[in-house]
């Protein structure tokens, strides 16, 4: 675009001396604000740390050398009983499979709902701009109500079993992913969306073709992170009495001595699951960003 104001002939040449003064003042002001913010942040961190330290049973510095005590206890026992490991891995595998199933169903449903909520509540993309606020608050509520409470209420209605857990986790995921999805969508480039609007595309078409391809890598990695978290989530599955690998871990862990070999085995399974999910996430992202195999 031609800026006539800065063209060869046009426009007043600004007086350098006053400009400098104004900009220097701006820099000083910004520096001051920056310094104040930094000082406030550091002061909050330091005083927060000291307060927390004072309220804690043990102090931070005295406790630091003891950090290894518990892991040492755990590992020495797990190492002593390492012979049990293969058997335990095998024993907990079905539990892992079931948990992954529950987490997967919940994540699928939750992320689909979250995607819809996100698009409905992103300023600029929402089909009904007036409803952005209520949808945002709905998402807040979905993720603020603890899953355990939802699960408990559902258990009294539906009885124990995986379904209450799935619903509770899915509601939570819809709220949590809705927020993250919406923030990713907010950053998306609007040009393609506008291009689609200009050909008379419906809202659904604009979102599907204009927004989703852009945000897919981010959405995917958030979703898979959620899947991981859901696999580990122990509390809800424990409450519904369904067990699940996270709950098994919790039980073994809380039992303490005597079951640390179980802790090690379950942890190994969880770790492997997470590595697998992480790799899938990386591969899929790569595929979306770089394109599958275009010539």
């Amino acid at each position: 675009m031609v800026d006539i104001a800065f063209g060869p002939n046009e426009g007043p040449r600004p007086d350098p001396s006053s400009r400098h003064g104004a900009y220097m003042a701006l820099v000083r002001r910004r520096r001051l604000y920056g310094a104040i913010l930094l000082v406030i942040f550091l002061a909050l961190m330091v005083s927060g740390f000291r307060l927390a330290d004072a309220r804690n049973a043990g102090g931070f510095w005295e406790g630091l050398p003891m950090l290894g005590a518990f892991p040492a206890e755990l590992f020495s026992e797990a190492w002593r009983d390492r012979a049990n490991l293969p058997g335990l891995l095998w024993q907990f595998l079905p539990s892992l499979v079931e948990t992954v199933n529950i987490a997967l169903v919940a994540t699928l449903i939750g992320s689909l709902a979250g995607a819809l909520l996100a698009l409905l509540s992103t300023t600029g993309l929402a089909p009904w701009p007036r409803l952005v606020w209520p949808f945002r608050r709905l998402m807040d509520i979905c993720r603020a109500i603890p899953e355990i409470v939802i699960a408990l209420v559902l258990i009294y209605i539906l009885g124990g079993g995986p379904v209450p857990a799935v619903i509770a986790i899915a509601i939570h995921i819809a709220g949590a992913l809705g927020k993250l999805f919406s923030e990713a969508a907010e950053n998306a480039d609007r040009k393609p969306v506008e291009g689609l609007a200009s050909v008379g595309a419906t809202w659904g078409q604009r979102m599907w073709l204009g927004v989703i391809p852009q945000v897919a890598p981010n959405w995917l990695s958030y979703t898979l992170l959620r899947l991981e978290i859901s696999v580990r989530a122990s509390a809800i599955l424990g409450f519904v009495g369904e067990g699940g690998i996270g709950h098994d871990l919790k039980i073994a862990m809380q039992w303490g001595q005597g079951r640390y070999d179980e802790v090690a085995a379950i942890f190994l399974l969880l770790f492997l699951t997470i590595v697998v999910i992480d790799q899938i996430s990386g591969a899929l992202r790569q595929r979306i960003v770089k394109g599958a195999h275009h010539g």
């Binding site: 002939n9 040009k191 291009g195 609007a197 200009s198 050909v199 078409q205 599907w208 391809p213 275009h294």
Partner: protein
Amino acid sequence: MLTATDLTCRFGPRTAVDRVSFALDRPMFLGVIGRSGAGKSTLLRMLNRLTDATSGEVQFKGTDILRLTGRAKRDWQGRCAMIFQQFNLVPRLDVASNVLHGTLSRRSTLATMFNLWPETDIARALDILDRLGIADQAPKRAEALSGGQQQRVAIARALMQDPAIILADEPIASLDPMNAQLVMDTLRRIHDEDGRTVIANLHTLDTARRYCDRVIGMRDGRVVFDGTPDQLTTGAAREIYGADASFSEKATSTTLDGLPPDTAYASTMLET
């Protein structure tokens, strides 16, 4: 055929387009010129219903298109194609899909989700790309193309809409002179051969003079010039651009002096 009456658009306190009126009685190639911020883009966006007008009306063959909503509005957008300066393609999708998007107003959402494009449409898209000389780019992602190629994809998408009107917002501003000529030639041929109305925002006067049947000059949202290219003298241009006597329109010229319009190339491009 297309009549705009007192078309006005306000953004808060700022009036981007101020009581613009014009009437086209037959399909023509209309150029809109004016300096940055004059309201050219806003005018086109209102015609395409991307931006809502504050007041005024636009009649097209008897219907006020500014009153359309929902389905009817999308139908109108389907008949009135827009070409953007920044192309506004979907960069991660391939070129052919981008062209097929031109048919979206006729397709159901579900069908698009499952990529269900009729094979005849695919063939037509390829034909159009072929007319524009980029058929071999069809399987590539749009983002992998050069600017000139992307602009031609955008034109292909517009043609795919089979529109009555083509709105082009500075279609050549980000192109090099060669590509610029190519694109303008293409638009002119589309007007000449298919009889479609083309309304193009242009930054450069000589382009307007060379290609348009009629030119509208805007300044601060208002129409300050409306006439044939011949009437667009340097004096008129100074008036439009609000420039003083030192203004030399050559400064913004992209003319390809001495190069006759490349009719041979344009005709190979447009024959199907």
